[in-house]
Amino acid sequence: MSDGPAAWTADEMMTVAAARQLRDGAACFVGIGLPSTAANLARATHAPNLVLVYESGCLGAKPDRLPLSIGDGVLADTADAVVSVPEVFNYWLQPGRIDVGFLGAAQLDRYGNINTTVVGGDYDAPDVRLPGAGGAPEIAASCREVVVIVRQNRRTFTERVDFVTSVGYGSGPGDRERLGLRGGGPRLVITDLGVLEPDPVTCELTLTHLHPGVTREQARAATGWDLAVAEPLSTGEPPTAHELAVLRALEATKQPLPQRQAVAPEA
Protein backbone atom coordinates (compact mmCIF):
# COMPACT_ATOMS: atom_id res chain seq x y z
CA MET A 1 0.00 0.00 0.00
CA SER A 2 1.50 3.29 -1.09
CA ASP A 3 1.22 6.21 1.28
CA GLY A 4 2.72 8.84 -0.95
CA PRO A 5 0.89 11.97 -2.05
CA ALA A 6 -1.02 12.08 -5.29
CA ALA A 7 -3.00 14.54 -7.36
CA TRP A 8 -6.44 15.05 -5.91
CA THR A 9 -9.49 17.30 -6.19
CA ALA A 10 -10.70 19.65 -3.48
CA ASP A 11 -13.80 17.47 -2.98
CA GLU A 12 -11.60 14.41 -2.58
CA MET A 13 -9.52 16.22 0.02
CA MET A 14 -12.68 17.24 1.86
CA THR A 15 -14.02 13.69 1.85
CA VAL A 16 -10.73 12.22 3.02
CA ALA A 17 -10.44 14.82 5.79
CA ALA A 18 -13.94 13.93 6.98
CA ALA A 19 -13.29 10.19 6.86
CA ARG A 20 -10.17 10.56 8.97
CA GLN A 21 -12.21 12.10 11.77
CA LEU A 22 -14.24 8.96 12.32
CA ARG A 23 -12.86 6.63 14.95
CA ASP A 24 -13.35 2.93 14.57
CA GLY A 25 -16.42 1.60 16.35
CA ALA A 26 -18.25 4.92 16.47
CA ALA A 27 -21.92 5.06 15.53
CA CYS A 28 -22.49 7.56 12.72
CA PHE A 29 -25.77 9.00 11.48
CA VAL A 30 -25.14 9.59 7.77
CA GLY A 31 -27.01 11.20 4.95
CA ILE A 32 -26.55 10.57 1.24
CA GLY A 33 -23.80 12.40 -0.63
CA LEU A 34 -20.49 13.47 0.87
CA PRO A 35 -21.29 12.20 4.40
CA SER A 36 -22.12 8.73 3.13
CA THR A 37 -19.03 8.71 0.93
CA ALA A 38 -16.80 9.83 3.80
CA ALA A 39 -18.25 7.29 6.20
CA ASN A 40 -17.88 4.47 3.72
CA LEU A 41 -14.31 5.56 2.97
CA ALA A 42 -13.54 5.42 6.69
CA ARG A 43 -15.11 1.98 6.93
CA ALA A 44 -13.02 0.79 3.99
CA THR A 45 -9.78 2.15 5.46
CA HIS A 46 -9.02 2.74 9.15
CA ALA A 47 -12.47 2.17 10.71
CA PRO A 48 -13.80 -1.25 9.62
CA ASN A 49 -16.17 -1.37 12.62
CA LEU A 50 -17.74 2.03 12.05
CA VAL A 51 -21.49 1.71 12.59
CA LEU A 52 -23.46 3.43 9.83
CA VAL A 53 -26.99 4.46 10.74
CA TYR A 54 -29.24 5.74 7.96
CA GLU A 55 -32.49 7.56 8.69
CA SER A 56 -34.33 5.04 6.51
CA GLY A 57 -34.00 2.71 9.50
CA CYS A 58 -30.87 0.78 8.55
CA LEU A 59 -28.65 0.21 11.60
CA GLY A 60 -25.11 -1.00 10.95
CA ALA A 61 -25.37 -0.98 7.16
CA LYS A 62 -22.26 -2.32 5.40
CA PRO A 63 -22.77 -1.38 1.74
CA ASP A 64 -20.17 -2.68 -0.71
CA ARG A 65 -20.98 0.19 -3.07
CA LEU A 66 -22.07 3.77 -2.50
CA PRO A 67 -25.82 3.92 -2.06
CA LEU A 68 -27.47 6.44 -4.38
CA SER A 69 -30.32 7.02 -1.99
CA ILE A 70 -30.90 6.78 1.71
CA GLY A 71 -33.35 3.97 1.05
CA ASP A 72 -31.08 1.98 -1.26
CA GLY A 73 -31.74 -1.76 -1.06
CA VAL A 74 -28.07 -2.45 -0.37
CA LEU A 75 -28.47 -0.71 2.99
CA ALA A 76 -31.31 -3.00 4.08
CA ASP A 77 -29.54 -6.08 2.72
CA THR A 78 -26.36 -5.44 4.69
CA ALA A 79 -27.73 -3.88 7.91
CA ASP A 80 -27.56 -5.55 11.31
CA ALA A 81 -31.18 -4.48 11.75
CA VAL A 82 -33.76 -2.59 9.71
CA VAL A 83 -36.17 -0.69 11.92
CA SER A 84 -39.04 1.67 11.22
CA VAL A 85 -38.43 5.36 10.63
CA PRO A 86 -40.16 6.36 13.89
CA GLU A 87 -37.92 3.90 15.72
CA VAL A 88 -34.68 5.18 14.20
CA PHE A 89 -35.50 8.69 15.38
CA ASN A 90 -37.07 7.80 18.75
CA TYR A 91 -35.03 4.86 20.01
CA TRP A 92 -31.69 5.49 18.30
CA LEU A 93 -31.15 9.19 17.58
CA GLN A 94 -33.15 11.01 20.27
CA PRO A 95 -31.64 9.34 23.37
CA GLY A 96 -28.09 10.29 22.33
CA ARG A 97 -26.89 6.85 21.22
CA ILE A 98 -25.25 8.22 18.06
CA ASP A 99 -21.66 9.42 18.35
CA VAL A 100 -21.35 11.46 15.18
CA GLY A 101 -23.99 13.14 13.08
CA PHE A 102 -22.98 14.28 9.60
CA LEU A 103 -24.72 17.29 8.13
CA GLY A 104 -24.48 19.37 4.98
CA ALA A 105 -25.57 23.00 4.65
CA ALA A 106 -26.83 25.47 2.08
CA GLN A 107 -25.90 28.28 4.49
CA LEU A 108 -23.77 28.16 7.62
CA ASP A 109 -23.10 30.99 10.06
CA ARG A 110 -20.25 31.73 12.43
CA TYR A 111 -21.94 29.80 15.24
CA GLY A 112 -22.43 26.73 13.11
CA ASN A 113 -26.17 27.22 12.61
CA ILE A 114 -27.38 25.62 9.40
CA ASN A 115 -29.95 26.56 6.79
CA THR A 116 -31.36 24.03 4.34
CA THR A 117 -34.83 25.57 4.01
CA VAL A 118 -35.13 28.88 2.13
CA VAL A 119 -32.65 31.47 0.81
CA GLY A 120 -33.59 35.09 0.21
CA GLY A 121 -36.96 36.80 0.32
CA ASP A 122 -39.57 35.79 2.83
CA TYR A 123 -40.27 32.30 4.01
CA ASP A 124 -43.57 32.47 2.15
CA ALA A 125 -42.04 33.91 -1.02
CA PRO A 126 -38.41 32.80 -1.00
CA ASP A 127 -35.86 33.43 -3.72
CA VAL A 128 -34.85 29.79 -3.50
CA ARG A 129 -36.84 27.02 -1.95
CA LEU A 130 -34.53 24.27 -0.63
CA PRO A 131 -35.53 20.74 0.46
CA GLY A 132 -36.04 21.63 4.11
CA ALA A 133 -35.20 20.00 7.39
CA GLY A 134 -35.36 16.24 6.95
CA GLY A 135 -33.66 14.63 9.91
CA ALA A 136 -31.20 17.49 10.43
CA PRO A 137 -32.72 19.46 13.35
CA GLU A 138 -32.73 16.42 15.61
CA ILE A 139 -29.38 15.12 14.32
CA ALA A 140 -27.94 18.53 15.22
CA ALA A 141 -29.67 18.40 18.61
CA SER A 142 -28.99 14.86 19.76
CA CYS A 143 -25.77 13.38 18.37
CA ARG A 144 -22.81 13.44 20.75
CA GLU A 145 -21.09 15.58 18.15
CA VAL A 146 -21.83 16.95 14.70
CA VAL A 147 -19.50 17.13 11.71
CA VAL A 148 -20.56 19.50 8.94
CA ILE A 149 -19.26 18.89 5.42
CA VAL A 150 -19.75 21.83 3.10
CA ARG A 151 -17.97 23.62 0.29
CA GLN A 152 -16.67 26.98 1.48
CA ASN A 153 -17.72 30.21 -0.29
CA ARG A 154 -19.23 33.55 0.66
CA ARG A 155 -22.71 32.58 -0.41
CA THR A 156 -22.71 29.58 1.92
CA PHE A 157 -20.59 30.93 4.78
CA THR A 158 -22.78 33.81 5.76
CA GLU A 159 -22.93 36.18 8.73
CA ARG A 160 -26.51 35.15 9.47
CA VAL A 161 -28.37 32.25 7.97
CA ASP A 162 -31.70 33.23 6.40
CA PHE A 163 -33.44 30.41 8.25
CA VAL A 164 -32.22 28.33 11.19
CA THR A 165 -33.04 24.77 10.13
CA SER A 166 -30.56 23.12 12.49
CA VAL A 167 -29.00 24.72 15.52
CA GLY A 168 -25.23 24.86 15.99
CA TYR A 169 -24.32 27.10 18.91
CA GLY A 170 -27.29 29.46 18.48
CA SER A 171 -26.06 32.95 19.24
CA GLY A 172 -23.14 31.78 21.35
CA PRO A 173 -22.08 30.11 24.59
CA GLY A 174 -24.82 28.62 26.75
CA ASP A 175 -27.47 28.66 24.04
CA ARG A 176 -27.49 24.89 23.47
CA GLU A 177 -28.03 24.31 27.19
CA ARG A 178 -30.77 26.94 27.32
CA LEU A 179 -32.49 25.29 24.37
CA GLY A 180 -32.29 21.86 25.99
CA LEU A 181 -30.10 20.42 23.23
CA ARG A 182 -28.30 17.47 24.75
CA GLY A 183 -25.74 16.68 22.05
CA GLY A 184 -22.44 18.53 21.88
CA GLY A 185 -23.05 20.46 18.68
CA PRO A 186 -20.72 20.99 15.71
CA ARG A 187 -17.22 19.81 16.58
CA LEU A 188 -15.83 20.21 13.09
CA VAL A 189 -16.74 21.93 9.85
CA ILE A 190 -14.82 20.29 7.02
CA THR A 191 -14.68 22.22 3.77
CA ASP A 192 -12.87 22.04 0.47
CA LEU A 193 -10.39 24.57 1.88
CA GLY A 194 -9.73 23.39 5.40
CA VAL A 195 -11.22 22.64 8.79
CA LEU A 196 -13.06 24.96 11.19
CA GLU A 197 -13.63 24.24 14.86
CA PRO A 198 -15.65 26.12 17.46
CA ASP A 199 -13.60 28.27 19.80
CA PRO A 200 -13.83 26.60 23.22
CA VAL A 201 -14.83 29.88 24.87
CA THR A 202 -16.79 31.87 22.29
CA CYS A 203 -18.16 28.93 20.23
CA GLU A 204 -17.27 30.92 17.10
CA LEU A 205 -16.11 28.78 14.19
CA THR A 206 -12.37 29.23 13.83
CA LEU A 207 -10.13 28.07 11.00
CA THR A 208 -7.79 25.49 12.54
CA HIS A 209 -6.43 23.58 9.55
CA LEU A 210 -5.87 24.31 5.91
CA HIS A 211 -5.78 21.63 3.28
CA PRO A 212 -2.43 21.39 1.47
CA GLY A 213 -2.01 24.17 -1.10
CA VAL A 214 -4.72 26.41 0.36
CA THR A 215 -3.88 29.79 1.97
CA ARG A 216 -5.52 31.47 4.91
CA GLU A 217 -6.37 34.37 2.64
CA GLN A 218 -8.30 32.06 0.35
CA ALA A 219 -10.23 30.72 3.31
CA ARG A 220 -10.98 34.20 4.66
CA ALA A 221 -12.04 35.41 1.24
CA ALA A 222 -14.46 32.50 0.97
CA THR A 223 -16.13 33.37 4.27
CA GLY A 224 -18.95 35.89 4.65
CA TRP A 225 -17.82 36.99 8.10
CA ASP A 226 -14.52 38.05 9.56
CA LEU A 227 -13.11 34.55 9.94
CA ALA A 228 -11.04 33.90 13.06
CA VAL A 229 -7.87 31.92 12.45
CA ALA A 230 -6.11 29.73 15.02
CA GLU A 231 -2.46 30.33 15.78
CA PRO A 232 -0.55 28.33 14.86
CA LEU A 233 -2.62 27.38 11.83
CA SER A 234 -1.60 23.91 10.71
CA THR A 235 -1.83 22.32 7.30
CA GLY A 236 -3.39 18.85 7.06
CA GLU A 237 -1.91 15.80 5.40
CA PRO A 238 -2.77 15.29 1.76
CA PRO A 239 -4.75 12.21 0.80
CA THR A 240 -2.58 9.11 0.67
CA ALA A 241 -2.47 7.08 -2.50
CA HIS A 242 -4.37 4.37 -0.66
CA GLU A 243 -7.10 6.74 0.50
CA LEU A 244 -7.48 8.07 -3.02
CA ALA A 245 -7.55 4.62 -4.57
CA VAL A 246 -10.25 3.43 -2.17
CA LEU A 247 -12.26 6.63 -2.57
CA ARG A 248 -12.14 6.45 -6.35
CA ALA A 249 -13.09 2.78 -6.33
CA LEU A 250 -16.07 3.69 -4.15
CA GLU A 251 -17.09 6.53 -6.42
CA ALA A 252 -16.87 4.20 -9.40
CA THR A 253 -19.61 2.05 -7.83
CA LYS A 254 -22.11 4.84 -8.45
CA GLN A 255 -24.07 4.40 -11.63
CA PRO A 256 -23.11 6.64 -14.56
CA LEU A 257 -25.25 9.61 -15.42
CA PRO A 258 -28.03 8.79 -17.85
CA GLN A 259 -27.22 8.90 -21.55
CA ARG A 260 -30.80 9.24 -22.67
CA GLN A 261 -33.29 12.08 -22.41
CA ALA A 262 -36.46 10.03 -22.37
CA VAL A 263 -37.79 8.81 -19.10
CA ALA A 264 -38.75 5.19 -18.87
CA PRO A 265 -42.49 4.57 -18.91
CA GLU A 266 -44.12 2.79 -16.04
CA ALA A 267 -43.39 -0.89 -15.74
Partner: protein
Protein backbone atom coordinates in the same frame (compact mmCIF):
# COMPACT_ATOMS: atom_id res chain seq x y z
CA UNK B 1 -61.11 -7.80 5.82
CA UNK B 2 -59.75 -5.54 3.13
CA UNK B 3 -61.58 -5.44 -0.19
CA UNK B 4 -59.65 -6.50 -3.28
CA UNK B 5 -60.19 -3.81 -5.91
CA UNK B 6 -58.78 -2.46 -9.14
CA UNK B 7 -56.49 0.55 -8.80
CA UNK B 8 -59.00 2.74 -10.62
CA UNK B 9 -61.85 1.66 -8.37
CA UNK B 10 -59.72 1.95 -5.23
CA UNK B 11 -58.75 5.53 -6.02
CA UNK B 12 -62.27 6.42 -7.11
CA UNK B 13 -63.75 5.05 -3.87
CA UNK B 14 -61.17 6.17 -1.37
CA UNK B 15 -59.54 9.41 -2.56
CA UNK B 16 -61.82 12.43 -2.69
CA UNK B 17 -61.38 16.08 -3.66
CA UNK B 18 -60.24 18.10 -0.67
CA UNK B 19 -58.93 15.07 1.21
CA UNK B 20 -55.85 14.93 3.38
CA UNK B 21 -53.89 12.25 1.53
CA UNK B 22 -50.66 10.56 2.57
CA UNK B 23 -48.69 8.55 0.02
CA UNK B 24 -45.82 7.08 2.00
CA UNK B 25 -42.76 4.96 1.27
CA UNK B 26 -39.24 5.95 2.27
CA UNK B 27 -37.37 5.83 -1.07
CA UNK B 28 -38.49 2.19 -1.24
CA UNK B 29 -42.08 1.10 -2.07
CA UNK B 30 -43.36 4.50 -3.16
CA UNK B 31 -46.88 4.13 -4.61
CA UNK B 32 -46.22 5.87 -7.94
CA UNK B 33 -48.92 4.05 -9.89
CA UNK B 34 -51.55 5.13 -7.36
CA UNK B 35 -50.26 8.71 -7.58
CA UNK B 36 -50.66 8.60 -11.35
CA UNK B 37 -54.20 7.27 -10.99
CA UNK B 38 -55.01 10.18 -8.66
CA UNK B 39 -53.75 12.54 -11.37
CA UNK B 40 -55.72 10.72 -14.07
CA UNK B 41 -58.91 10.96 -12.03
CA UNK B 42 -58.34 14.70 -11.71
CA UNK B 43 -58.41 14.99 -7.92
CA UNK B 44 -58.12 18.56 -6.70
CA UNK B 45 -57.51 20.61 -3.62
CA UNK B 46 -55.71 17.76 -1.85
CA UNK B 47 -53.62 18.30 1.25
CA UNK B 48 -50.67 16.09 0.44
CA UNK B 49 -48.85 14.66 3.43
CA UNK B 50 -45.50 12.93 3.15
CA UNK B 51 -42.18 12.96 4.98
CA UNK B 52 -40.19 13.09 1.75
CA UNK B 53 -42.19 14.65 -1.07
CA UNK B 54 -39.93 13.53 -3.87
CA UNK B 55 -40.70 12.85 -7.52
CA UNK B 56 -44.16 11.42 -6.85
CA UNK B 57 -45.33 14.65 -5.20
CA UNK B 58 -43.53 16.76 -7.79
CA UNK B 59 -45.81 15.05 -10.30
CA UNK B 60 -48.99 15.52 -8.23
CA UNK B 61 -48.13 19.15 -7.50
CA UNK B 62 -47.24 19.89 -11.11
CA UNK B 63 -50.49 18.25 -12.22
CA UNK B 64 -52.44 20.68 -10.04
CA UNK B 65 -53.90 18.16 -7.59
CA UNK B 66 -52.60 19.82 -4.42
CA UNK B 67 -53.35 23.01 -2.55
CA UNK B 68 -51.36 22.21 0.56
CA UNK B 69 -48.29 20.18 1.46
CA UNK B 70 -47.33 18.86 4.89
CA UNK B 71 -43.78 17.54 4.78
CA UNK B 72 -40.28 17.41 6.19
CA UNK B 73 -37.94 17.10 3.19
CA UNK B 74 -38.72 17.92 -0.41
CA UNK B 75 -36.13 16.94 -2.97
CA UNK B 76 -35.09 14.46 -5.62
CA UNK B 77 -32.92 12.15 -3.50
CA UNK B 78 -29.33 12.05 -4.68
CA UNK B 79 -30.15 14.31 -7.64
CA UNK B 80 -31.27 17.75 -6.51
CA UNK B 81 -34.31 19.96 -6.34
CA UNK B 82 -37.92 19.31 -7.20
CA UNK B 83 -38.67 21.81 -9.94
CA UNK B 84 -42.46 21.48 -9.91
CA UNK B 85 -42.49 21.90 -6.12
CA UNK B 86 -40.25 24.98 -6.41
CA UNK B 87 -42.34 26.42 -9.21
CA UNK B 88 -45.48 26.06 -7.09
CA UNK B 89 -43.86 27.61 -4.03
CA UNK B 90 -41.97 30.38 -5.82
CA UNK B 91 -44.46 31.19 -8.60
CA UNK B 92 -47.77 29.61 -7.64
CA UNK B 93 -47.80 27.41 -10.77
CA UNK B 94 -50.09 25.69 -11.61
CA UNK B 95 -51.65 26.89 -8.36
CA UNK B 96 -50.39 28.21 -5.03
CA UNK B 97 -49.14 25.60 -2.60
CA UNK B 98 -49.45 26.25 1.10
CA UNK B 99 -46.70 24.60 3.14
CA UNK B 100 -46.67 23.13 6.60
CA UNK B 101 -43.14 22.17 7.33
CA UNK B 102 -41.69 19.81 9.93
CA UNK B 103 -38.65 17.73 10.66
CA UNK B 104 -38.55 13.98 9.95
CA UNK B 105 -38.69 13.25 13.68
CA UNK B 106 -41.74 15.44 14.02
CA UNK B 107 -43.56 13.93 11.05
CA UNK B 108 -42.76 10.37 12.11
CA UNK B 109 -44.10 11.07 15.58
CA UNK B 110 -47.20 12.74 14.19
CA UNK B 111 -48.00 9.50 12.37
CA UNK B 112 -47.23 7.51 15.54
CA UNK B 113 -49.70 9.64 17.49
CA UNK B 114 -52.30 9.15 14.77
CA UNK B 115 -51.78 5.39 14.75
CA UNK B 116 -51.98 5.36 18.56
CA UNK B 117 -55.26 7.23 18.89
CA UNK B 118 -53.54 10.08 20.71
CA UNK B 119 -54.06 13.76 19.86
CA UNK B 120 -50.35 14.60 20.05
CA UNK B 121 -46.84 13.23 20.34
CA UNK B 122 -43.90 14.39 22.43
CA UNK B 123 -40.32 14.61 21.22
CA UNK B 124 -37.05 16.39 21.72
CA UNK B 125 -37.15 18.40 18.56
CA UNK B 126 -37.37 21.71 16.74
CA UNK B 127 -35.83 23.54 19.67
CA UNK B 128 -34.12 26.74 18.52
CA UNK B 129 -35.13 26.32 14.90
CA UNK B 130 -37.08 28.76 12.75
CA UNK B 131 -39.57 25.99 11.96
CA UNK B 132 -41.25 27.05 15.20
CA UNK B 133 -42.07 30.46 13.71
CA UNK B 134 -44.02 29.15 10.76
CA UNK B 135 -46.56 26.71 12.12
CA UNK B 136 -48.73 26.65 15.20
CA UNK B 137 -48.52 22.87 14.98
CA UNK B 138 -45.34 22.76 17.06
CA UNK B 139 -45.84 23.70 20.70
CA UNK B 140 -44.01 23.38 24.00
CA UNK B 141 -45.13 20.85 26.56
CA UNK B 142 -43.97 20.46 30.14
CA UNK B 143 -43.14 17.11 31.71
CA UNK B 144 -45.48 16.72 34.69
CA UNK B 145 -42.76 14.84 36.60
CA UNK B 146 -39.51 16.70 35.89
CA UNK B 147 -40.75 20.13 34.79
CA UNK B 148 -38.62 19.85 31.67
CA UNK B 149 -39.94 21.53 28.52
CA UNK B 150 -40.26 19.35 25.44
CA UNK B 151 -41.97 19.68 22.09
CA UNK B 152 -45.44 18.50 21.13
CA UNK B 153 -46.77 17.96 17.62
CA UNK B 154 -50.39 17.08 16.77
CA UNK B 155 -51.40 13.68 15.46
CA UNK B 156 -51.66 13.20 11.72
CA UNK B 157 -54.97 11.58 10.76
CA UNK B 158 -55.05 11.45 6.94
CA UNK B 159 -58.41 10.88 5.34
CA UNK B 160 -56.65 8.26 3.27
CA UNK B 161 -53.18 6.75 3.22
CA UNK B 162 -51.84 4.99 0.13
CA UNK B 163 -48.81 2.69 0.26
CA UNK B 164 -47.25 0.04 -1.93
CA UNK B 165 -46.18 -3.38 -0.61
CA UNK B 166 -44.76 -6.57 -2.01
CA UNK B 167 -47.64 -8.94 -1.38
CA UNK B 168 -51.12 -9.47 -0.01
CA UNK B 169 -53.24 -12.56 0.41
CA UNK B 170 -56.88 -12.85 -0.58
CA UNK B 171 -58.05 -11.70 2.85
CA UNK B 172 -56.13 -8.48 2.29
CA UNK B 173 -53.36 -9.20 4.76
CA UNK B 174 -50.45 -7.11 3.50
CA UNK B 175 -46.78 -8.08 3.70
CA UNK B 176 -43.85 -5.76 3.08
CA UNK B 177 -40.16 -5.99 3.86
CA UNK B 178 -36.87 -4.22 3.30
CA UNK B 179 -37.03 -0.56 4.27
CA UNK B 180 -40.58 -0.19 5.57
CA UNK B 181 -40.29 3.41 6.73
CA UNK B 182 -43.36 4.90 8.33
CA UNK B 183 -45.90 2.95 6.29
CA UNK B 184 -47.46 0.96 9.11
CA UNK B 185 -48.02 4.12 11.13
CA UNK B 186 -49.33 6.04 8.11
CA UNK B 187 -51.88 3.32 7.34
CA UNK B 188 -52.99 2.93 10.95
CA UNK B 189 -53.26 6.71 11.39
CA UNK B 190 -55.61 7.10 8.43
CA UNK B 191 -59.39 6.86 8.29
CA UNK B 192 -59.13 4.85 5.06
CA UNK B 193 -56.27 3.05 3.36
CA UNK B 194 -55.39 1.73 -0.06
CA UNK B 195 -52.48 -0.65 -0.52
CA UNK B 196 -51.13 -1.51 -3.96
CA UNK B 197 -49.11 -4.72 -4.12
CA UNK B 198 -46.78 -6.46 -6.53
CA UNK B 199 -48.89 -9.59 -6.31
CA UNK B 200 -51.80 -11.18 -4.52
CA UNK B 201 -50.97 -14.69 -3.37
CA UNK B 202 -52.84 -17.57 -1.74
CA UNK B 203 -50.63 -17.63 1.31
CA UNK B 204 -48.06 -15.19 2.67
CA UNK B 205 -44.78 -16.95 3.32
CA UNK B 206 -42.99 -15.31 6.27
CA UNK B 207 -39.93 -13.26 5.31
CA UNK B 208 -37.24 -11.87 7.65
CA UNK B 209 -37.79 -8.22 8.37
CA UNK B 210 -41.40 -8.33 7.29
CA UNK B 211 -44.10 -5.98 8.42
CA UNK B 212 -47.57 -7.49 8.17
CA UNK B 213 -50.68 -5.33 8.17
CA UNK B 214 -53.72 -7.48 8.99
CA UNK B 215 -56.48 -7.25 6.42
CA UNK B 216 -58.95 -5.99 9.03
CA UNK B 217 -56.81 -2.85 9.43
CA UNK B 218 -56.71 -2.06 5.69
CA UNK B 219 -59.60 -0.74 3.60
CA UNK B 220 -58.65 -1.95 0.12
CA UNK B 221 -55.88 -3.75 -1.73
CA UNK B 222 -55.14 -3.51 -5.46
CA UNK B 223 -52.74 -5.70 -7.38
CA UNK B 224 -50.47 -3.37 -9.33
CA UNK B 225 -47.26 -5.09 -10.44
CA UNK B 226 -44.50 -2.53 -10.81
CA UNK B 227 -46.67 0.00 -9.01
CA UNK B 228 -43.67 1.49 -7.24
CA UNK B 229 -41.69 2.30 -10.39
CA UNK B 230 -39.32 4.26 -10.55
CA UNK B 231 -39.03 3.46 -6.84
CA UNK B 232 -38.57 -0.24 -6.18
CA UNK B 233 -40.01 -3.24 -4.38
CA UNK B 234 -37.32 -5.17 -2.55
CA UNK B 235 -37.24 -8.68 -3.99
CA UNK B 236 -39.21 -7.67 -7.09
CA UNK B 237 -37.42 -4.76 -8.75
CA UNK B 238 -34.52 -2.37 -8.40
CA UNK B 239 -34.69 1.38 -8.19
CA UNK B 240 -34.67 3.05 -11.62
CA UNK B 241 -32.01 5.60 -10.75
CA UNK B 242 -31.90 6.74 -14.38
CA UNK B 243 -35.51 7.87 -14.09
CA UNK B 244 -34.75 9.99 -11.04
CA UNK B 245 -31.75 11.58 -12.79
CA UNK B 246 -33.71 12.17 -15.97
CA UNK B 247 -36.58 13.68 -14.00
CA UNK B 248 -34.42 16.69 -13.32
CA UNK B 249 -34.51 17.71 -17.00
CA UNK B 250 -38.11 16.61 -17.60
CA UNK B 251 -39.44 18.60 -14.68
CA UNK B 252 -37.31 21.70 -15.10
CA UNK B 253 -39.70 23.30 -17.61
CA UNK B 254 -43.46 23.43 -17.57
CA UNK B 255 -43.83 22.28 -21.16
CA UNK B 256 -41.55 19.26 -20.92
CA UNK B 257 -43.35 18.32 -17.72
CA UNK B 258 -46.76 18.65 -19.38
CA UNK B 259 -45.61 16.54 -22.30
CA UNK B 260 -44.36 13.88 -19.94
CA UNK B 261 -47.59 13.95 -17.94
CA UNK B 262 -49.67 13.66 -21.05
CA UNK B 263 -47.68 10.80 -22.49
CA UNK B 264 -46.83 8.76 -19.40
CA UNK B 265 -49.81 9.38 -17.13
CA UNK B 266 -52.90 10.60 -18.97
CA UNK B 267 -52.51 8.38 -22.00
CA UNK B 268 -51.13 5.43 -20.07
CA UNK B 269 -54.30 4.43 -18.25
CA UNK B 270 -54.46 2.47 -15.05
CA UNK B 271 -52.25 -0.59 -15.01
CA UNK B 272 -54.82 -2.49 -12.99
Amino acid sequence: MAKLVSLADGVADLVRDGDVVALEGFTHLIPFAAGHEIIRQGRQDLTLVRMTPDVIYDQLIGAGCASRLVFSWGGNPGVGSLHRFRDAVQHGWPRPLELEEHSHAGMANRYVAGASGLPFAVLRGYSGTDLLRHTSNIRPITCPFTGETLTAVPALRPDVTVVHAQRADRAGNVQMWGITGVQKEAVLAAHRSLVTVEEIVDELQPVPGQVVLPGWAVTAVAEVPGGAHPSYAHGYSVRDNDFYRAWDAVSRHRDTFRDWLDQHVHRAGATA
